[in-house]
């Protein structure tokens, strides 16, 4: 019976501890309280900050639960004598209430054959403890006070069951469990193996101390062959990492009966106790074994485990590092956006195509400003003739509507802004809006292929897709047109020289030709006495005209302002401009996210560091009391 000895060993060890005056314990737990409060505040602040990397509902709930625990621990520790809460946990009918009655020697918890019996938890505590020192959740339970000196610093809680048809009981138990420092896992011959209890134990064992009771011990020692339940349970506990657990074999009912019969305290040992019954051991452990030193050790260990849980959970919430991925995504997006910008440029230029006459007209008018004299007069006249059509078209009110494919009416006065806006609107309606929606999807798919989580990318990218792209397109077209115009009217390099030469030729040659012709005629008339005929007279007009036409042709040939000539330049300018716009808008998305996540990682690391500081503080000062068997490895 190795277990009984182990229990005794613990006991004797504690007796010596309580006999010898222990060294004045440092007020460790009390100093811990503000640290825990500070940590709780930090966790809550972290929870409240908005962040890119989302928490799942489950993660948030878990962390909030931990923050609650931190606060609760801080409050529980911030007292002269910390209280130890021992909670009985087990299935219905295993005898939790009977056990509490046996421990107290009075029927304070209802025990009967109706299952489930206990619906409201019972809190059993020393009368010196003021009710307001109890945790708020415990204050609402049924309270039973006692005057047993051995249990002065301990609160024993009888909880509802965890496996009956009354599911509300299970919820009550789960709400109470965070208050427990030590959980007394009560099993019976039938139920020590049950799944519901075992699952709850596995869920809680990281966080609390566990001791075990196998009640109804009389039903376990039947003399039948096979593994005895206590051996079976010890085996399972070993597999769970409890190599040396505290296990008490009890038959609480017999002790209750004995107490009822004798009315004395402590009750006399029942005569029919089965062999190996250990109720007395359990009572001794509770009353004497758990000294102040051990309580502090259990409390400190509980805090240590809480801090470990905080570290584990927070560590699990650290966002991934997406710097490399964001670079890859940007690389891929840049290519896609360049292609897209090309097509958009093509579409926009194509939309302007029907108005090439107007564009040419606009450029010509601008270009004519630099000619003087005869050339200027000639150009004004010819331009008016050449572009008469575009002027006329605007004066026919319904032309635009009658003819297919010409929704836009050009205003009489060249209003570039309005005109381009119309073009962008048409292009948008027909092509660009749909392309933008498709582009967003393409980018998202590419992002995913480069390993960037879509959940992070989705919303910001869609938001950019919904921006007012028509406005941007309009501006791009206007700017590109203006640029092309500037280039056309103010060329650089050899074109500048050529244009200067041509301009000065155009401004001088016609007048020169006129003068020369007139001079020649006068000379002929005055000196040579030749009376000029009709033909000679007309030469005064014809020769300058021929010169003008020749110069004009030269200008048109060498410095053409024709739509086909500007079209290509315009298109490439537009494509570059659009690709800049697109890149500016989209490429910052992955970078921003990666940056935000890096920032959030830093926050998580800071929180972890803070937790580590507190737990290091705790480890350095932890008392060396023997409580390890209450915890699994």
């Amino acid at each position: 019976m190795g277990r009984g000895e182990a229990g005794l060993r613990t006991n004797s060890h504690d007796d010596t501890m309580s006999d010898a005056p222990p060294a004045e314990p440092q007020p460790l737990l009390r100093t811990l309280a503000p640290l825990l409060r500070g940590l709780e505040r930090q966790v809550r602040t972290w929870l409240d900050t908005r962040r890119r990397f989302p928490l799942t509902m489950l993660q948030r709930a878990e962390l909030e639960g931990l923050a609650d625990d931190l606060r609760r621990q801080a409050e529980a520790l911030d007292v002269e004598k910390p209280l130890l809460t021992i909670m009985l946990m087990g299935g219905t009918g295993v005898g939790k209430s009977t056990l509490l009655n046996a421990l107290s020697g009075a029927p304070i918890a209802q025990a009967a054959f109706t299952r489930p019996t206990t619906r409201d938890p019972v809190v059993y505590f020393h009368h010196s403890i003021r009710t307001d020192r109890l945790d708020p959740a415990l204050r609402l339970c049924r309270l039973a006070q006692h005057d047993r000196p051995g249990l002065e610093q301990k609160i024993i809680v009888d909880t509802p069951d965890l496996d009956s048809n009354d599911l509300a009981n299970r919820d009550k138990l789960k709400a109470l469990l965070p208050m427990a420092d030590i959980v007394l896992y009560v099993g019976s011959q039938e139920k020590y193996h049950d799944q519901l209890g075992w699952d709850l134990f596995k869920e809680q064992r990281q966080r609390r101390a566990f001791a075990f009771v196998l009640n109804k011990w009389d039903r376990c020692v039947t003399g039948e062959s096979g593994l005895r339940p206590d051996e079976d349970l010890l085996k399972d506990l070993k597999d769970e990492g409890f190599s040396n657990p505290l296990l008490f074999r009890t038959t609480a009912q017999l002790w209750v009966d004995s107490a009822a019969k004798s009315g004395a305290w402590p009750p006399p040992t029942p005569h029919n106790l089965p062999e190996g019954e250990q109720f007395n051991l359990l009572r001794n452990w509770l009353e004497l074994g758990l000294t102040r030193l051990e309580i502090e050790a259990v409390k400190a260990r509980g805090v240590g485990q809480l801090l470990a849980s905080v570290s584990r959970v927070v560590d699990g919430l650290r966002p991934p590092d997406l710097t490399a991925e964001s670079e890859k995504v940007k690389e891929a997006w840049r290519k896609t956006l360049a292609v897209e910008a090309d097509v958009q440029g093509e579409v926009l230029v194509g939309t302007l195509e029907p108005y090439q006459t107007e564009v040419e007209h606009h450029f010509s008018v601008e270009d004519q400003q630099r000619y003087r004299g005869l050339m200027a007069a000639y150009l004004r006249f010819t331009t008016r003739m050449r572009y008469a059509k575009s002027g006329l078209r605007d004066r026919i009110p319904f032309a635009g509507r009658l003819l297919p494919g010409a929704k836009v009416e050009t205003p009489v006065e060249w209003n570039l802004g309005e005109f381009v806006q119309e073009c962008a609107r048409t292009a948008g309606e027909r092509v660009l809006d749909q392309r933008t929606a498709a582009l967003v999807n393409r980018l998202l798919v590419e992002g995913d292929q480069r390993g960037f989580p879509l959940s992070l990318l989705n919303d910001p990218t869609h938001a950019i897709g919904r921006m007012d792209w028509r406005e941007r397109v309009t501006r791009a077209v206007i700017d590109s047109l203006a640029e092309v115009e500037r280039e056309a009217t103010n060329p650089t390099g050899w074109r500048r020289v050529l244009r200067g030469t041509l301009t000065s030729m155009a401004n001088t040659l016609p007048e020169l030709a006129l003068l020369v012709t007139a001079g020649t005629l006068l000379y002929n008339f005055i000196v040579l006495q030749n009376v000029p005929g009709m033909f000679e007279m007309s030469l005064i007009g014809l020769v300058p005209l021929i010169v003008i036409i020749a110069v004009h042709l030269l200008i048109l040939m060498l410095l053409p302002i024709r739509w086909p000539a500007i079209r290509e330049r315009f298109r490439s300018k537009l494509a570059t401009r659009m690709s800049e716009e697109l890149e500016r808008a989209y490429l910052k998305v992955p970078t921003d996210i990666a940056e935000a996540l890096r920032e959030e990682r830093k926050q998580v690391d800071a929180l972890l560091a803070e937790t580590k500081v507190v737990s290091d503080f705790l480890t350095e000062r932890q008392q060396a009391a023997q409580v390890t068997e209450l915890y699994g490895s």
């Binding site: 299952r115 049950d194 194509g350 029907p354 078209r393 749909q434």
Partner: protein, 617 residues
């Protein structure tokens, strides 16, 4: 109905239910349904199948079920009349079912294929805690006295529990036996009787229409009456209805915590408890045949009524599948809209101008008539010049168009991207989307593109044809019908002549007014041209519409269909799910009818030997 046919139908249904069960187990949120599905498939295999095959009613089966440590093995011993099962203090000791045969003339052990599903019959003996998918059959040793065994027609099954943490592994073995049973003995201790897990199990048994006898064990003698009453009210009062809609009548017996002497001697010291139990069991059994018919009929009814519930597990999958289909169709609509907007609305179909000119040519007079035509053409020259100039003023160049190929390819990319982005977005919500997202880049995307390209070739072939044909038809309508052609020509000629003659006549003698002649001729020509233009434009519009229909019919509709069905192809779970959903209700309905027919058959043949309620000696 041939037995082989029954056999394949039963096998099919059992397999389908089994597959659904596995499907549930793979999805954590559906795992709770797995037990019911297992029960359903076990009922099909163990009860309905043998019955339809004509296996005899004998032996009937009693299954003893209950939570760990409740005392199932003790109850088995009491049923057998002697200690046959190892009662063990270790909770959850029994890990596989054991059948105990009465010690009488050997009867035929069911040999039906699929009987007990995955459980194999152990040939040798093994301890009850052997954790394997097996069952063993033992024979109850002969009793001390030569008394007739009241349960000589019954096989008694000792089952594993359903409450310990290890039971997850072996609860399926329990379900097999529970499905097989004609009578279930539900054992609950004073500790266990209001536990959730066993109670849920009891509910399931009642829903499957099993006759249940409850044994409350370890009851204090003083509490027995009160506890039985309490149990009736709290637990039995909340039982669901039987498959036939009636409330179940469940007898309750209380066993006290017995001393070892009583416990180990069921037919001696413990006989008073045994008699109670046997009585209640035999009350549930009218005759072998009637009992078996009840078991089978209830099983079939359970399948029929729970049928929809069984398939509930598939709802979510199918809802997500529907969502995918909707997404595909939305993509199709986008595709067509893009095609219309980006290409079709600006496309002029220039070929039609050729047909217009051809038509105008056709209306000119042939042969000698050309002279006259030429003359009139000459007369119209001033008008023609004016008109061309004005037209030049007001006609704009056409709106720019992306090429059809570009638009189609871009639209397809857009469609697929949209689907892929959607599936990636939703991949965390359900397995259907996840599967799609995973297989998009490697399978769905490339396959869809390939398919589209094939269809595109098809489409291009058709569209050229169609355009050509529409134009030809227009010209042919005139050229192939000489009567019409000539009447049109002469009509036009008559119109011209009447116009000229009319002017000349009205303004005679000839003077400056003759200038009105070209005007009149121009007017008639313009009228003809407008008529021809109208016809051609109509054809053009028709072609445009046709083209739209063609894109939808040849390109997008087949692709959309393929895409929509894609998750349900290639042996995926959705495909199987669809098959199962189609098959299961139908099979269950057939099965119910066959069971009904067979049951009537059995009722007609009066049972030869029916055990009646007796008391043990």
């Amino acid at each position: 109905m041939e037995p082989t046919e029954h056999r394949s139908a039963v096998g099919q249904l059992a397999d389908d239910l089994r597959w659904l069960e596995d499907h549930c187990r793979r999805q954590p949120e559906l795992a709770t349904h797995a037990g019911t599905l297992r029960l359903a498939s076990a009922l099909t295999r163990n009860v309905i199948g043998p019955f339809l095959e004509g296996q005899p009613a004998r032996p009937l089966h009693i299954a003893v079920v209950g939570g760990a440590g409740a005392g199932k093995s003790t109850v088995v011993n009491f049923l057998a009349g002697t200690v046959v099962a190892e009662a063990n203090p270790q909770a959850g000791y029994t890990r596989h079912p054991t059948a105990f045969l009465p010690n009488g003339p050997a009867f035929q052990w069911p040999t039906y294929i699929g009987f007990m599903g995955p459980l194999n019959r152990l040939s040798g003996e093994k301890p009850a805690n052997a954790d394997e998918d097996v069952y063993q059959v033992k024979r109850i040793p002969a009793g001390k006295s030569g008394d007739a065994d009241p349960l000589s027609e019954f096989v008694i099954w000792d089952c594993p529990d359903m409450t310990t943490w290890a039971s997850l592994v072996y609860v399926n073995r329990l379900l097999e036996v529970a499905a097989l049973a004609d009578v279930v003995v539900y054992v609950a201790s004073d500790e266990r009787y209001n536990d959730e897990v066993p109670t849920q199990f009891l509910h399931m048994l009642v829903k499957a229409g099993k006759a249940v006898v409850v044994v409350l064990t370890k009851v204090r003698e003083s509490d027995a009456t009160a506890l039985t009453e309490h149990f009736r009210r709290e637990i039995l009062g909340r039982l669901p209805k039987l498959p036939d809609g009636t409330s179940p009548a469940v007898p309750v017996i209380a066993f006290p915590q017995m001393p070892q002497s009583e416990r180990t001697d069921p037919s001696g010291a413990g006989a008073k408890h045994r008699v109670l139990l046997l009585n209640q069991i035999l009350m549930q059994v009218e005759s072998e045949a009637a009992t078996r018919v009840r078991t089978v009929t209830n099983a079939a009814k359970f399948l029929a009524t729970a049928g929809d519930g069984l398939l509930d597990v598939a709802r979510r999958d199918l809802a997500e599948f529907e969502a995918w289909k909707t997404a595909v169709l939305a993509g199709k609509a986008d595709f067509e809209e893009r095609y219309r907007q980006e290409f079709l609305s600006g496309e002029q179909f220039h070929r039609f101008n050729r047909y217009r000119d051809q038509l105008m040519d056709d209306l000119e007079l042939p042969g000698a008539g050309r002279m006259l035509g030429g003359f009139i053409w000459l007369l119209r020259s001033p008008y023609r010049w004016t008109r061309d100039y004005v037209a030049g003023l007001i006609v704009r160049p056409e709106v720019f168009n992306l090429s059809e190929q570009t638009v189609l390819t871009a639209s397809l990319t857009g469609w697929l991207d949209k689907l892929q982005a959607e599936s990636l977005r939703r991949s965390s919500t359900h397995a259907v989307w996840k599967q799609i997202a995973i297989r998009f880049d490697t399978e769905l995307g490339p396959q869809a593109r390939e398919r589209f390209n094939q269809e595109l070739r098809n489409f291009e072939l058709k569209e050229t044809d169609e355009l050509e044909q529409a134009g030809k038809k227009l010209v042919d309508a005139v050229e192939k019908r000489p009567a019409l052609l000539y009447s049109l020509r002469s009509g036009k000629l008559a119109l011209d002549l009447v116009a000229i003659g009319g002017i000349v006549y009205a303004t005679w003698p000839p003077g400056w007014y003759l200038l009105l002649v070209p005007v009149a001729v121009s007017a008639t020509h313009q009228a003809t041209e407008l008529a021809v233009r109208g016809a051609v434009e109509g054809a053009r519009a028709r072609v445009r519409n046709q083209r739209e229909t063609l894109v939808s019919g040849v390109l997008t509709a087949p692709l959309a269909e393929w895409l929509a069905e894609w998750p349900a192809t290639g042996g995926s779970s959705i495909e199987k799910l669809q098959q199962v959903l189609r098959r299961v209700p139908e099979t269950i309905r057939q099965m119910e009818q066959r069971v009904k027919a067979k049951a009537t058959e059995w009722a007609a043949v009066k049972p030869d030997s029916a055990p009646t309620a007796t008391t043990t000696p």
